[in-house]
C-alpha cells in the first residue's frame, strides 16, 4: 500500500466509529497491542519529553525505507504513536518529509497534536521528520 492508501484506510476505519468511546477504545487497543520498545531503549537518549507523557523513538534505515519503533508511558499516547507509525513505517525519507499529518485531524485526533498539548506527540512528529531528513542527507552523500 502507498502512504496515501494507508491514510485513506485509517480514515475509513475511524469513520465507522459512532462516538468518542469507540474511537478511544480503538486507540487504547492499539496502545495495548503495539510492539513498543524494550526497556533498554527507554532512556534519555531516545526520550522525547512532553510534560505529561513520555515518548521514546528509535529509527533504522534500510534499502531506501525507514523503520521506526516507539513507545510511551501513557496508553493513549502510545496508541496514537502506533497510528503514526502505521503511516510512516516503510516509507522513504522524502515521503515522510512531505507528509503534513493532517489526517489526524480527519480522524478527530487533532487536539492531541496541538503544539500546546504537552504530550510529546508534536515533538515526536518533528523528530520523525528530522530522522527522515538525516537519512535523506546520508543517502545523497
Amino acid at each position: 500500500m502507498t502512504l496515501e492508501q494507508v491514510k485513506s484506510e485509517l480514515i475509513s476505519e475511524f469513520e465507522l466509529f459512532d462516538d468518542w468511546m469507540d474511537r478511544y477504545n480503538f486507540i487504547i487497543d492499539m496502545g495495548k497491542e503495539g510492539a513498543g520498545l524494550s526497556e533498554e531503549f527507554k532512556t534519555k537518549q531516545y526520550l522525547i519529553s512532553g510534560c505529561q507523557s513520555q515518548v521514546w523513538l528509535t529509527a533504522s534505515y534500510q534499502q531506501g525505507s525507514i523503520q521506526f519503533k516507539a513507545d510511551s508511558d501513557a496508553i493513549i499516547t502510545k496508541g496514537i504513536v502506533q497510528l503514526l507509525l502505521r503511516v510512516v513505517n516503510g516509507r522513504n525519507p522524502q515521503e515522510i518529509i512531505d507528509e503534513d499529518f493532517s489526517f489526524l485531524d480527519q480522524i478527530g485526533l487533532k487536539e492531541h497534536l496541538s503544539p500546546t498539548r504537552s504530550n510529546g506527540l508534536t515533538s515526536m512528529i518533528k523528530q520523525i521528520k528530522l530522522y527522515a531528513l538525516v537519512f535523506k542527507t546520508k543517502e545523497n552523500l
Binding site: 468518542w20 468511546m21 493513549i76
Partner: protein, 407 residues
C-alpha cells in the same frame, strides 16, 4: 443558614457551557477559578466609563481610574488585615510577587553562605526563584522534608534552622494535595530567631481567612485569578519596615521620584516604588469586586461548603478499587490528588476530558514533590464554592468508566 448553591452558580454562566456535547464539570479551580458576572462586568464597566491611565493625570477620567484603583488597594488591605496601603503591592500574580521578593529582598538581606529554607512540596514558583537567588549569591537552599501524608516535617524544619537562616518560604496550602501547612507555628519558629518568612498563599486566599498581622509573616503572596478574580494581577503583601529597606525591582515610570543624569535617581514612596510602568488597572479594580464576592458569602460558609464537598469526594473516591489519594493529612483544603493503580494520569485525564470534566493531570508544577511520592503525576480535583455533590457523583461514575476502558 447554609449556602444557596443555585444562587451562586447562576453568577457563573460558564458553568452551563457544553463541552464536547456534555455539560461542563469544572474541577480545575486550583489552576484558575471561574469568575462571577460582577467581576466580568466590572472590567467592561471600566473600559466603557472610566478607562484612563492612572496617577499622573490631572484630568477627570484619570482621577476616576486612580481613585478606583486605590480603593481596590484599600480593599486588599482589609482583606489580608495589613496595616496600611503601603504594604500592598500589585503584581502580575504570585509568581511575580515571589520573584520580586527573591530579587529585592535577596539583594538587600541575603549574602554568601546564608540559607533559605523552602519545603519539598513547593510549587515551582516558590522554588526556582530561590534556586536562582542562591546560585547568584552563593547562598544555600535547604528543603524541609514532608511526611508520607503530605504534611510538613516540623522536626526536620527545626533541625534546618540555624544562625545562617535568612528566610523561610512555604506554601500556605499545597497545590498538589491541598494540605494546609501550620504557618502560624512556622512563623513563630522563625520569629524567635529573627528569620524572615514568606507565605505562598496562591491556594489559600479563596479558602482561608488571611490575617497577616496576627500571623506575623514578613511577606504573603497570592493571585487574583485563583480567587474568582481576573487574570494578570496578584498581590505582594510585605511588612512596611522591610519593604522600605528593599531596593526597587523593575524600574520605569511611576516608581520614580526624580530622574537626572548627573545626580542619583530617587524613588517614589511605597507602594509605588515597586510598581513600575502602567499598572493593570481594570484587573486591579475587578480584583476588588472578587473580594466583595468572597466577603459577601463569607469564609465560614465557604469553608463549610467546601469541607462537605471534600469529605464526600474523598469517601466516594476511596471506594474505587486501586485509587490512592496523595496527601491524606487531616487538615486539608478542598483539593484531592489521586492515582489509579497501573493507569497513567494523562490517560485518565484525557478520557475524563472526553466526558466533559475539567481536571488537571501531571506534576502540577511541583516536580520534586511528585517524584518524592514515586508517581509520574496525579489527577487533581480542586473544588470551589460553586461545585456540587452531584458533580462529584458524576465524576466518580465517569472514573469507573475510565477504569474499565483502560484496564
Amino acid at each position: 443558614m447554609s449556602l444557596d448553591i443555585n444562587a451562586i452558580r447562576s453568577q457563573f454562566p460558564i458553568l452551563e457551557t457544553q463541552v464536547r456535547n456534555k455539560k461542563l464539570v469544572y474541577f480545575d479551580n486550583g489552576a484558575t477559578s471561574q469568575k462571577p458576572l460582577r467581576v466580568i462586568n466590572r472590567i467592561s464597566h471600566y473600559y466603557l466609563h472610566e478607562n484612563s491611565n492612572v496617577h499622573r493625570g490631572v484630568h477627570f477620567l484619570s482621577q476616576l481610574a486612580t481613585d478606583a484603583m486605590e480603593q481596590a488597594r484599600e480593599k486588599l488591605v482589609s482583606f489580608v488585615h495589613a496595616e496600611s496601603i503601603e504594604e500592598i503591592i500589585f503584581t502580575k500574580g504570585t509568581t511575580e510577587s515571589i520573584n520580586l521578593v527573591a530579587h529585592s529582598f535577596g539583594n538587600r538581606f541575603v549574602g554568601a553562605e546564608d540559607e533559605i529554607i523552602i519545603s519539598e512540596m513547593e510549587h515551582h514558583a516558590n522554588l526556582v526563584p530561590w534556586q536562582f537567588l542562591c546560585k547568584d549569591k552563593g547562598a544555600k537552599l535547604r528543603v524541609i522534608k514532608t511526611h508520607d501524608d503530605g504534611s510538613l516535617d516540623l522536626n526536620h524544619l527545626q533541625s534546618l534552622i540555624g544562625p545562617k537562616t535568612r528566610l523561610i518560604s512555604i506554601a500556605h496550602v499545597s497545590n498538589v494535595t491541598g494540605v494546609i501547612n501550620p504557618v502560624e507555628e512556622v512563623v513563630k519558629m522563625a520569629q524567635d530567631k529573627g528569620i524572615f518568612t514568606l507565605i505562598d498563599g496562591a491556594q489559600a486566599s479563596s479558602h482561608l481567612q488571611i490575617d497577616v498581622q496576627k500571623l506575623g509573616c514578613t511577606f504573603y503572596v497570592f493571585s487574583a485569578h485563583k480567587m474568582y478574580g481576573p487574570m494578570g494581577v496578584g498581590v505582594l503583601y510585605g511588612q512596611k519596615a522591610i519593604l522600605e529597606q528593599m531596593p526597587p525591582y523593575q524600574s520605569g515610570g511611576e516608581m520614580i521620584d526624580r530622574v537626572c543624569f548627573s545626580e542619583e535617581t530617587t524613588f517614589n514612596v511605597l507602594p509605588f516604588k515597586f510598581e513600575a510602568g502602567t499598572p493593570m488597572v481594570p484587573e486591579i479594580i475587578a480584583f476588588a469586586e472578587a473580594i466583595d464576592f468572597i466577603n459577601e458569602i463569607g469564609f465560614e460558609k465557604i469553608q463549610q461548603h467546601e469541607h462537605e464537598l471534600l469529605s464526600y469526594a474523598t469517601e466516594k473516591l476511596l471506594a474505587i478499587d486501586g485509587l490512592k489519594i496523595i496527601g491524606t493529612h487531616a487538615h486539608k483544603s478542598a483539593v484531592i490528588s489521586f492515582v489509579l493503580q497501573g493507569l497513567h494520569p494523562y490517560d485518565v485525564g484525557s478520557l475524563l476530558d472526553q466526558m466533559g470534566f475539567a481536571l488537571r493531570t501531571g506534576n502540577h508544577c511541583a516536580q520534586p514533590f511528585i517524584q518524592r511520592h514515586g508517581v509520574s503525576g496525579t489527577v487533581r480535583l480542586s473544588l470551589a464554592i460553586y461545585n456540587t455533590l452531584e458533580e462529584v457523583d458524576l465524576m466518580v461514575e465517569a472514573l469507573k468508566k475510565v477504569k474499565n476502558m483502560l484496564s
